[in-house]
Symmetry: C2
Subunit: 193 residues, 2 copies
């Protein structure tokens, strides 16, 4: 099964996936590829897979990306091959993408399970974004401005999980329940990518 976890910036996608990972949840966590330079403290293969622009272009041409975007000159994308490998081995694959990325994935893998992470309120989102020291005030403002439009896309998703401040355990338990329930479906979802 392919689970796509998405939601606006600052909703806590990384925290949720981090906790799932640390609980040894049985799934392949697919790492995004990027052409941007590695920052201090980042690990290749964990935070991102860092590759050259040439290699990224080749992946685009070969249609080997589930979704990709060019953000201010840097490419970001989710490779198909590790998803295929996980599914072939009978494992769950979990992908983390922004809301636009989820829309792209839905076009080529409509049978994936789409989970939308919601903040409990807009203030929570802005407080979380402000805590991030890596971002400029302009980026912060832009991210906050995009959130309402992104939340409008929720109708395209299968499930929503409200990621309340201080209740990360609960969010993760709900995502685990969704994945367990999906495996109990009489009509399984078939992913062909």
């Amino acid at each position: 099964m392919l689970a796509v976890i998405s939601g606006p910036s600052g909703v806590g996608k990384d925290a949720v996936l981090g906790l799932l990972r640390s609980k040894a949840f049985p799934a392949a966590f697919i790492t995004t590829m990027t052409t941007r330079a590695k920052r201090a403290g980042e690990t290749d293969g964990v935070d991102y897979i860092f590759i050259s622009k040439d290699k990224f272009q080749t992946l685009i041409e070969r249609r080997e990306l589930l979704e990709w975007a060019n953000v201010y000159g840097n490419y970001y994308g989710v490779p198909k091959e590790p998803v295929r490998q996980a599914l072939r081995a009978g494992r769950n694959a979990i992908v983390k993408v922004d809301v636009q990325g989820a829309a792209s994935i839905k076009k080529i893998a409509p049978e994936a399970v789409f989970i939308f992470l919601l903040p409990s309120c807009f203030e929570e989102l802005s407080a979380r974004l402000e805590k991030r020291l890596t971002e400029s005030p302009e980026t912060l403002k832009r991210r906050l401005a995009t959130a309402p439009e992104e939340i409008e896309q929720i109708g395209e998703f299968d499930y929503f999980v409200i990621n309340r401040e201080g209740e990360l355990d609960r969010s993760v338990a709900e995502i685990e329940a969704i994945i367990t329930a999906e495996k109990c479906r009489v009509k399984p979802r078939r992913i062909e990518i």
Copy 2:
């Protein structure tokens, strides 16, 4: 949400529901009504709600039963009113019925969540039925003969849970996951009965 738990005789529906109940799972467990005489050890309102044939007939006429059947002269049926009460109070309602009963409920409440309990093998089913001392060899034979046809109905259900011998906890955890996941659906199921 209305969850309908079904499956062939001997698959362990009562054991699963008993464990859910004892864990104080937040749901209204709907008790079946019957016109048959109370047996030793049975409690009115727990095992069944025991009512007269006249009252049962009135419920049929008023269409106040989610499903009902006449088994060798005795009526059995699931009342709508406690389901409505639970749903109005924002609670889950859980109904336990045989496979034919589930098919009837699907006609009037297609938006219910239908869960099929499966045995891990046919031998397990027959061993469990044989352990029941309340049944005659004829009843046992008939129940076993019906099981394959009943299992063929699984396509009409949303989920299946394999109730393996000695793994009741796992079956119950899967049912809890299904109900939790269903509550996270972006498009909720609306029950109108």
